[in-house]
Symmetry: C2
Subunit: 265 residues, 2 copies
DNA sequence: CGCCAGCTTGAACGAGGTCAACGGGAGTGG
DNA sequence: CCACTCCCGTTGACCTCGTTCAAGCTGGCG
């Protein structure tokens, strides 16, 4: 759970395509793919206001723009694996990812989901503690570790911002421990839906019509449940009229009050 | 889980009593209770090397020493409650605490334990996300929020240190999510004992003779189990010769390899 | 001595896991 | 266009691990 900085996105493209970038077969592209000679491409980045970069001034942004790269991942691709050396920091420009840890026998625990605007790589350690895998097509802004850490040293506001992001991550991790350690299956699922809803609201999307990019298996691995239990619990919520399943990947909250009651126990 | 910065301590007093402080009925004491006129009491603090303060230079330490306070708590006393305004940062000088969250019906989740040298209050938010309660007699160094945050702004090394502490907290929170979401009772208890052991080793104590200041209930609330299950599992480990229960509050690891096998699943 | 809190142990129960089958949609190939 | 496969989600039947409920047991403390 690094994220929760400003969780946003899910809108399936928006600003990205508007940038008229050539996707270059999914590979790295210089400085956001902006027109050659753009004096400060980062200043125009459409996720900047909700990302950590909001803490940087124009000269710092220019410095960052000279070394960052845009990358894209396809659904199911991994950005890095648990144990990999930590060589870069990222901001999610579009799409979503999951972070997870594995046990030797394959048991999996998803520790967080990342959406548009979220910061990734808040490790300040040499090794990644989790694997990061794309849930769908993803666009990222990649910043080399050295440059970014230098910027953190120079910019008080960036350091402060990162501490805020880290602390929000800790608070939401504590919340998740409460969920995993003490809540029932119904309470877990209800809490999860409310969390998705709150994130949607944060970015101005409808808090009742949720875009859900993750599979039932991913939800189970996040909530400490099996696929079957997730499925049964979703069905129960649907049958009792609390939620409504619309198109694939969309869950509508029909009765928010009741959902909140269920989440509270 | 703020802690894990440098988890240490447990030795039941040591440096503290050597400071010849008047405990002043458990209330606040100026600048570590050092002799009046000491030019830089923080420089002599015996937990400094393992605490965040290690990142400060002498002038910064002097500044800190002019505003900090020592406090003590008795077993069971709360330093602050979830939802309380966040007014200070703390370093644990001696003793241990638990951090926890509660649900409306009383279900409790312990999110971390703090030992000597640990930093507390890494929130950078206005409200505490957990309750902090003493497991035994505790001595703390309390720094006012405003001064400390100013120091963070001025000192690059302190900011860096805090980011490290925060990130270690995030990594160990992820580890705990894996434990709560996917491990069996035996694996949870074994992982917990190994964690205690690693902390003991960090500070130079025996990694096989563990000081365990928390009750079975606290362990259960940390591991997402009931007291009964903790008790039964401890008994099972004891019966199978993996651990040995010595004096109250002491657990000896008799067969480390087997304990590691159990923790791994 | 009696009381109380913490720990242990036993017996029965149940929430969620496991195993198995099935259905539907997307992709592929004839 | 259909046949086939694969993946994902759903549903059912059964089982298990940990919970719940209920005693006891121990040690500290008035």
């Amino acid at each position: 759970m690094y994220e929760t900085g400003s969780v946003a996105g899910l809108s399936k493209s928006a600003g990205w395509s508007a940038m008229k970038m050539v996707s270059d077969a999914g590979m790295e592209v210089r400085s956001g793919g902006s027109a050659v000679g753009d004096p400060n491409p980062c200043a125009d980045c459409d996720v900047r206001s909700r990302a950590v970069c909001a803490a940087l001034d124009n000269s710092e942004l220019a410095e960052l723009a000279s070394v960052n790269r845009h990358r894209s991942l396809e659904s199911g691709e991994c950005l890095f694996f648990e144990g990999d050396p930590n060589e870069a920091y990222y901001v999610v420009l579009d799409g979503s990812l999951k972070l997870y840890k594995l046990l030797a026998d394959g048991r999996r625990q998803v520790t967080g989901f990342l959406f548009k605007g979220d910061f990734l790589g808040l490790t300040f350690a040499d090794e990644h503690s989790v694997t990061a895998e794309a849930l769908e097509g993803v666009k990222l802004c990649q910043m080399p570790r050295s440059t970014f850490e230098m910027l953190v040293g120079d910019s008080h506001s960036l350091g402060r911002k990162l501490l805020q992001v880290a602390n929000r991550g800790i608070a939401s991790a504590q919340e998740q421990m409460l969920l995993l350690g003490r809540k029932t299956a119904q309470e877990r699922l209800a809490s999860f839906l409310l969390w998705l809803s709150a994130r949607a609201e944060d970015r101005g999307d409808s808090p009742s019509k949720l875009y859900v990019p993750m599979s039932r298996t991913d939800m189970g691995d996040y909530l400490g449940l099996t696929v079957e239990t997730v499925s049964r619990t979703v069905t129960k919520l649907k049958t009792s009229g609390v939620i409504h399943l619309a198109d694939k990947g969309i869950i509508e909250i029909s009765d928010l009050d009741r959902l909140e009651d269920i989440a509270a126990g």
